[in-house]
Each structure stands twice: as C-alpha cells, then as structure tokens.
Symmetry: C2
Subunit: 299 residues, 2 copies
C-alpha cells in the first residue's frame, strides 16, 4: 500500500481529519515527521532543520487559512549535543516568531536517525477547503517555485558558499499571513509541499473541475542557476515540491482585493475550467494546453 492509499484509508476512518490539517471546534492541529535520510541533506544545519521542520507544520496551518498560534517538536537523535539542540530550538522559535506563533517546546528522544516530529496549532472559524474551486476562478500561487529543488542541487555541490545558500533557501517563510488574507476569499487552497503539479491535481479532483494553466510559471531565479535545461527547470519548478507556497483558486472579482491585502508575490497561473473531456487524470490539469502529469514528491 503506498502512502496516498494509506492516507485515503485514514481519511475514511476519521471524520475530523481535514485536508492539510484537522479542525476540532475551530482549533486547527497538524503534525508531520521529517528525518535525516529524506528531508535533511548533508550540510543542513540544525538551525535550518528546526526552522524547516516547524515551518512545514505552520504551512499546513496556513493552507487552512488559519491563524497560527503555537508549535511543538520532538527532537530525536542518536546523541544530544548542546549547541546543535540550541540551534534547533532557535530555528524553531524564529520560524514561529516570523508568523506570529510561539514555539512552546516539546520532547527529546534517542533515535538512530535524526528525526523531527512537529505539530502546529492554529485558530479558524472558516477553514478553506480543497474542494470549493468553481469554473472561471483564477488559479494562483504565492511566492516562487523551485527553491527547495534548487537548494538540493546546491547542497549536492558541497561548496561552503553553496551550502550556506542552500540552507537559506531551505528556511522558507510559512504563508500564514497570506493564508489569512485568502480565508473567506479563496474557494480552494492547499500548500505546494507535494509540488505544484500534484497540488493542482488534488485541488481540481476535490473540486470536480479542471485547471488550464499557462506559462510562465513563477519559477524562482535560483532555479535558472542550477537547472540543466528547460525540462529540468520545469521539473524543479513544478514537480519537485517542498516549496510550501499556497496554491489556491480565487473568484475573478475578488482578485484585486486579495492582492491589495497580500505582501507576498501572488501570481495568477491559470483558470478553473469545466471537467468535460478531462475526467481522466492526465487531462485534469494542462500547462499551455498539454497534459501536466499528476506526479510529484511523495513523502
């Protein structure tokens, strides 16, 4: 059973399990696990790890359009080094501070592999679903795409300056403020942690429509530095994922008001369209008229 099937099974069994997060009486809670082998390339500092791990859960709160209030983490490692642990806590605390939340601690555990489990909390009276996109809505994304994929290339190069840049790219700002501004206006929303392509497919499928996306996509300039060619650029920008931007649909008439309230880049990349002729997943989302495959990062 792969992870998507297993997650579907969980969703069927648990009534309160939400989209990116569960909501209980207006309280949003979401939890995540990151570990060395798959999430923290060689060269990732503990400061970056703390920032990124807690940020991933804050991003899930943002994706619900909720206000982030607090986060906790379990830090599990083969041994506890005082400066590493302090760096981790600093990173975790600062990503919380960046979105107006508080890092309130957690627990320690011994584990053969460096593993971090994070939980973030938030409040919302009006969570944004994945399923509300209407034909004609603008399909939009915050910020730029491909930073995490580019960071991985820089980590691989291993040069100290590259590794430092890679760490900086890994410390994304969770889009909590943008999510708040979009709440009540966006008709469907999730974060792009699985990649833009997969996020678009999930929103379109949940909403029962298709998306016609047009280039140029807001691919980050750093991707042009590391990509081998145009295909590789698209791979990093649309499929690699882990960028933690918000992908959403907004009615045309609300777009200008949304833009006025946002302090981050916000790009319209397409339009929600009738599903007719798009029922097969390969036709659900198109980029410049060609099928955009439903594949991406599987955590």
């Amino acid at each position: 059973m792969d992870e998507r099937t297993a997650l579907g099974l969980l969703g069927d069994r648990l009534s309160a399990a939400g989209d990116d997060a569960a909501v209980v009486d207006g309280q949003v809670v979401t939890t995540d696990m990151l570990h060395d082998r798959t999430d923290f390339p060689d060269g990732t500092t503990r400061y970056t790890a703390g920032w990124r791990a807690v940020g991933a859960s804050l991003s899930d709160v943002a994706a619900m359009g909720a206000d982030a209030t607090a986060a906790v983490a379990v830090y599990a490692a083969p041994a506890f080094d005082e400066s590493e642990l302090a760096d981790f806590v600093d990173g975790a605390s600062e990503v919380c501070a960046a979105v107006g939340a508080e890092y309130v601690g957690g627990d320690l555990d011994h584990h053969d592999e460096f593993t971090v489990a994070t939980t973030a909390l938030g409040d919302t009276d009006d969570p944004v679903p994945r399923s509300g996109a209407q034909v004609g809505d603008a399909v939009c994304v915050t910020g730029t795409l491909g930073r995490s994929g580019a960071a991985l290339r820089l980590f691989e190069r291993g040069d100290p300056a590259d590794v430092e840049r890679a760490n900086a790219l890994f410390r994304f700002e969770p889009r909590v403020a943008a999510g708040r501004a979009l709440a009540g206006r966006a008709t469907a929303m999730m974060d792009s942690s699985d990649g833009l392509a997969r996020s678009l497919h999930q929103l379109a499928e949940a909403s029962g429509c298709g998306f016609a996306v047009e280039s140029p996509l807001p691919v980050d300039p750093v991707v042009d530095e590391v990509a081998d060619d145009a295909d590789d650029r698209l791979e990093l920008g649309a499929f690699f994922g882990e960028d933690f931007e918000l992908v959403c649909t907004v009615p045309e008439e609300a777009l200008s008001a949304v833009r006025a309230d946002l302090s981050v880049e916000f790009t319209r990349i397409g339009t929600a369209v009738e599903r007719e002729g798009r029922s097969a997943s390969e036709n659900r989302v198109t980029l410049d008229g060609e099928s955009l495959p439903d594949r991406g990062y599987t955590h």
Copy 2:
C-alpha cells in the same frame, strides 16, 4: 549531554514550556515519540501501539489537571500494511474515546524503524504545577504500579497467552478524569512515566520539600507473578516506570473530597516533609526511612 540535562536546557530557553505539557492561553499541548526498539517489545500489536502511544500524550494532559480534547499521530514505518494501520488507528481512537477526547488523524512517513509521534491537546484554566507541594500534604498515587514492567517480562516469555496479557497491560487508561478531579485540589502533580521514584524526586525538588513515603506501595498483583524477589518487586513497582499513573500531593483537609470524586484507586503513600537535612538528592525522598534513589526509566 544526557536527556535530563538537554530537557533542562530546553526549559530554560522556552518560557511557555511547562511541566508535562506546554500551556498557551489555556490550551495544553504535549508531544512525544515512541519507537520499536525502546518502546514496543516484540509481540506488541499495532492496536496496542496506537493505544499506548496516544495514551502517553493524553497522560501528560492529565498530569496538568486538564481536560483532553484531541490527539494526532504520525505513523512512520518501513512499509504500510492496511490492517496494521487500521489496527493502529483503532487503538488510537479508542484510547481517545476512553477519556472523552477525539483522535483526529495525523500523517504517515516512511522510516526504517517503526516510530510514532503523538500530540495531545487539552484545555485548562488552572494547570496543576509540579512545584506547589507544601509540608504536611499527603503524597498520593492513582491506580497500581509496575504493570508496564510486568508486561515487559510477559512479552519476554513469548508464550501467546503471556503476550496477550502483556498487550492488555500495555493499554493503560490515561488518568484524565482523575486529573480533572484533582485540579484545584492537588498542590503538585505529574505522571509516573519515569517511574514512581523519579517522579517523587522531581515533585519534591520542584516544590523545595522532601517526601517521607511508607510501604506498602500499591504495587499491582501482576508484579508478584513475575518478580524474582522483593528487590525485583520494588524495582518493577517503584523504578521501572511507564505506568502513567498520577503522582500528586494533596492537603490533608482536601483528601476526603478528592476521594469522593475519584473512580480510580487512590493511595496515600506518604507525607511532604521539611527539606532540612534532605538537601542532598539521596535524602530528598525516603521509603520507610531509607533513601529512595533518584533513578528510573530514562526515555
């Protein structure tokens, strides 16, 4: 740096980090990680694992005297088996239901070692600290001690009937109702996950007093079945830990009202005493006049 030192460092850096759980605006949040090698002996079913892992976090909510509202978990394993995952979710859901909380899901992750990270939420206007014990207060414990240590012996025996009993012993009921009844009355409280002895030392140290404890301790009858001798019985009952009972101090005059509201066994095991002559940790807690060492289960 050992885990206690590291936890102390975390506590110093984070103002909202509480005793067993953090409290933010009346919202209690606590998180924990359990994994195969250290927490789930051979023979532990996934149902028991789900129950126990989520129960451990619910016990931390109980230790604050808070009402438990919800829990989430990350289930990380080398592969996802549908029936194992369903059993885990059933166990997690049922331990929540047993204390009036809701299991609202979580996330999945691939990990070489079966690892579970749990987070529980609760509400309280009046969290019970570890530091409020007063000289003369009764020192008390809920339920019986030594069940988890005894379960480990039964798991080791490996006989199917023993393993089934061990699983049942591992599925403890978090003392949320008792914690609620003790809130506002207990002067200091924590759970016994690190063992009775270490819990007593932590409460006494935080409160600046000593504890004079007298036998008999409420050691579970199953311990007598598996213990080699009296020393081993004390080892399992007072030091092994992982029993998730509440250890607390209650003013003499409140004892009868507390008992009237509790539906679990509640044993007075001693009295809070002046710290004079007990400043060294070896004298802080005594059992029948002899030093009770500050050692126990280190997670």
